[in-house]
Symmetry: C2
Subunit: 585 residues, 2 copies
């Protein structure tokens, strides 16, 4: 096999003159570089290893960037970045951090959007194709969507609209037979049928939605891919190209355990073991681990308790063993947050006690269902928000600090923010028992901190704040994780002889006016929350105290989408360190 | 035909002993009563007339309320209400207002949810069926969804999950070949194919999603419906029953013009003419009419301007004639708000200038797309929010006062609130021209009020407030429609010798701190907005001025879901009349 010098690949033009042998060598080199980076640096392992050949073939056949390429969720675009001017970020460890893990137009003209939520690409690409038609353009519009992303409703909306285009529109369905975990839902039976019949089955989801359709069983074979893409290039109507690929190809541990290696922290290439113990599931308990263990106990005690995920069971600590333990009372609706919320609203109606776990950044897809089917209908389901914090995921597409503003302004919905693991347990247990209120409980998804002194309640429906420490003149109200920050600030102030009142509000959706009334003649009230200030908890306090003489200062995050920010820097910028808060007083 | 005394029908049990002749007479009587009420009272005309027979057959065959029946969007449930203890509300004009236009559990145990947004019923019913299975129940779970609602992504998510049930689950697809307007999207080709082949076509959307499938061409024939429903009762797996019905059946004007008679104000049964001139399209121009005329001008001037709707063109004033005039630059994605936003984000990428119109209550389905694909990606699309007001729709399912809190807290998204039609035009024209910012413009959707004195800008990107009147001590900030209220309050105060500063903030998402700084030493600042206070505009002002000596009072709506409220009463309850505001000062 010829040797390929990856550093010479500056743009797709550099591969378009290669022959198949060279392209094959290129794929091998790229996979090798990917393995090296992924094992040393972490990232989306399986999705990228599975797409090396398809991405090479796409850029080989299509005239990018004139032809448009939109990758759904875009965590499978490392090979795409390698071919589009960003090779060093995958071959030179010093430049590993030069690129984000998703497409980003600020990095390259080959990246059309900053994307990290699934299922939107088909509709985006359909809009681009419609725009091309109106402008009189002739370029190809191609979108790549994984089978796991197909379950999201907006994917269906995009397919439905895209089918009406009377022009070139190419949807590549990258079928690796996996979501993050296994796939769930009726459409996956059809994908399996299509794979098993080499695409020949009469029952065909894509044809039934109005698409022409082609199937390629060898989705990691360059020659086949190139032939297939050439055959649809410049096609004059909407078509689905269904390719069968191998998630994690080239890394035996990832091929064998696709779920674990969907995304991974740095790991040993041979054994798959994580290098850093704190990244491992055996490390000190985090909220995910804690939640899963706790829920399994509650599910054993009470046959009405059901746990629901929308395609992210690992986030909730439910690995395969635990899912099997939970049996048919663990429900995975697939990546379909709207459906997940509604299934919960159906279960409550049938007398069950559903507990739904969502990643903060993804739950926003289900706002309408939270508002209408849960809150308006007062369905007593419990929703646990994971990674609801500025200290969680820091990609601009996955920020975890908008959920307070999003959900706490919905009527009838009680939004709780525990400050430690004992309080989380108490809130969760109460919420599972009660049958009158929809409840959201927000946890940071980081290490579960303990506070044995916490005063837990039997009933959280009355929205009472806890005055943890009674001081004078200054009150510090710390929501959720920020309670600990406020406590540290109060300790600092105590050393300086200032006695601050310290409050754990427990709930962020309903004001405890009785407690707030006692603060009206204070000099200063400071609120701190682990979320954006706008629309959040503190502004409700400021509004309520707006007529009182007390000064109110709201601390939290600015209304922005920071990307890959440094946690400590952002915290400082927001004035959210204990020292800054003490100084402010 | 035997005579049926409708007043004797107290529950479905009262029809279960009837023979076909009696049931046929019952249908005729019910349709006759419906026509009388609809023409005198208004309501959802077409959907209910089309479902009389199917609803009778459902309650005749299934053992409601033990068997569960969930109607999607539920605006087709008048016949259901007639059969379930609420007949007087359809036969006695004095009781016409006793029932809401949607299912509501507070009215009847036969109503499982308060529903008014489309597409959620399949997922809700799937949750109920899953709950039944876990509880060991045997009852049938039946859901009815219209073809128009099928385009909403959550319908697909519900179908996808429902297919995994290994038990009774019956989805009735009520295909009347219409959404509110005509259907749009690839799936409708398949529905047509299925109708044209009497359900025999191999290409079948429902089978491809994992459902058993039956088709009934005579969806208004009682005998056929009863046979069909009997054949699927107690079935042990998920099945779709596709019935072909006639929207508006029994009212010739509605059969002929299905779009106009989807919902109608009171009208003449013979001619279809509206009784009240102000309900007619020829009445003084409202914002919808104004918008459509204005957009058609802009579309003529600029070939890049595209208008988008998600299944509600009438709300935007785009009747059939205007849609034809706009041609292929009027895009209806079907009821698919997420898809609509993403298609706009695709069009901007292709260099077009999309303007999307949404009903306030429905846009919330697309929050994730607003946040990720529009705001994070800074796509310069324009979104016009219709019926964004407490003076619009007053059903608890259709409230128009949550959009400020929902959208104004998203980074990068400029949220504008014009106070009159001249300002609306200026904002819209600027937004169409500029290519850097995503913009939301909120209009109340009521009569378009004029204010020739308004100071319009060439550029709204700087978020400047307009100080309309300079006073002292007291500042009144009125957002959107509430500006006029504040102006009246200022006039009242002037008569009492109090000179108030009057401010039109124009934008509700970004604070004009320069102007707000001038108010820091005022005695009082009052904000008023036509939306919930929590998470809204006023709380941002209160937060910003929290450290200043000035008192801040935020006026707006409480965080509640009021149902069929009286406009004047709610306004008064919220202290939003000019008199109350003047008094407060």
């Amino acid at each position: 096999m010829k040797e390929i010098d990856l550093s010479e690949i500056k743009s797709p033009a550099d591969i378009r003159n290669m022959n198949l042998e060279q392209l094959t060598a290129l794929a091998a080199e790229m996979r090798s570089a990917l393995l090296k980076k992924l094992s040393a640096h972490g990232g989306h392992v399986g999705p990228n290893l599975g797409m090396v050949e398809a991405v090479i073939a796409l850029h080989y056949v299509f005239d990018t960037p004139q032809d448009k390429l939109v990758f759904d969720v875009s965590h499978q675009t490392y090979p795409h970045k390698m071919l589009t001017g960003r090779m060093a970020a995958f071959t030179n460890p010093e430049h590993y951090d030069d690129v984000t893990g998703y497409t980003n137009p600020r990095e390259s003209e080959y990246d059309l959007y900053s994307l990290g939520h699934t299922s939107s690409a088909v509709a985006l690409a359909a809009g681009i194709a419609k725009g091309r038609d109106l402008k009189g353009g002739r370029e190809n519009v191609v979108t790549v969507i994984g089978d796991g992303s197909l379950s999201g409703g907006v994917a269906f909306e995009g397919l439905d609209y895209g089918a009406t285009l009377d022009s070139n529109f190419i949807v590549i369905v990258n079928d690796n037979q996996m979501s993050i975990a296994e796939n769930h839902g009726g459409i996956y039976e059809n994908l399996a049928l299509l794979r098993n019949t080499n695409g020949e089955a009469e029952t065909n989801l894509f044809r039934s939605m109005g698409y022409d359709y082609r199937y390629l069983n060898y989705g990691n074979d360059l020659r086949s891919l190139i032939e297939m893409f050439r055959s649809v290039k410049n096609i004059n109507h909407p078509i689905v190209v269904h390719i069968n690929t191998m998630k994690g190809l080239g890394l035996p541990v990832a091929e064998a355990d696709k779920e674990t290696f969907h995304f991974s922290a740095p790991f040993d290439l041979k054994t798959g073991a994580l290098f850093n113990e704190s990244d491992s599931a055996d490390s000190p308990e985090d909220y995910s681990e804690h939640f899963a263990k706790h829920m399994l106990c509650r599910m054993k005690e009470n046959p009405d308790v059901v746990t629901i995920t929308a395609g992210t069971p690992g986030v909730m600590g439910f690995d395969k063993t635990r899912r099997e333990e939970a049996g048919r009372r663990f429900v995975d609706v697939g990546i379909a947050e709207q459906g997940g919320v509604d299934v919960a609203a159906g279960l409550t109606k049938a007398g069950l006690r559903p507990v739904v776990g969502f990643v903060s950044s993804f739950l926003q897809r289900a706002y309408d269902q939270f508002s209408q089917d849960i809150a308006l209908n007062k369905q007593p389901a419990t929703f646990v928000v994971f990674y609801g914090t500025m200290f969680g995921m820091n990609d601009e597409t996955h920020l975890g600090f908008f959920d307070i503003a999003l959900l706490s302004n919905i009527p009838n919905l009680l939004f709780l923010a525990p400050t430690c693991v004992e309080e989380f347990d108490a809130m969760l247990d109460w919420s599972i028992k009660q049958t009158t209120l929809p409840v959201v409980i927000r946890i940071p998804g980081t290490t579960a901190t303990s506070n044995p002194e916490i005063k837990v309640l039997d009933d959280y429906s009355n929205a009472e704040y806890e005055v943890v420490r009674q001081g004078e003149d200054v009150a510090l109200i710390g929501a959720g994780l920020m309670f600990n920050t406020m406590k540290s600030a109060a300790d600092l102030l105590a050393k300086r002889g200032i006695s601050a009142t310290l409050i754990n509000p427990r709930n962020l959706s309903t004001l405890d006016t009785k407690t707030l009334d006692t603060l009206k003649n204070y000099k200063t009230v400071i609120t701190a929350e682990d979320g954006i200030i706008d629309g959040g908890f503190g502004q409700k306090v400021a509004s309520y105290l707006g007529e009182a003489p007390v000064k109110v200062i709201n601390l939290g995050l600015p209304k922005e989408f920071p990307n890959r920010y440094n946690y400590a820097e952002l915290q400082k910028k927001c004035g959210l360190t204990p020292e800054q808060i003490a100084e402010m007083v």
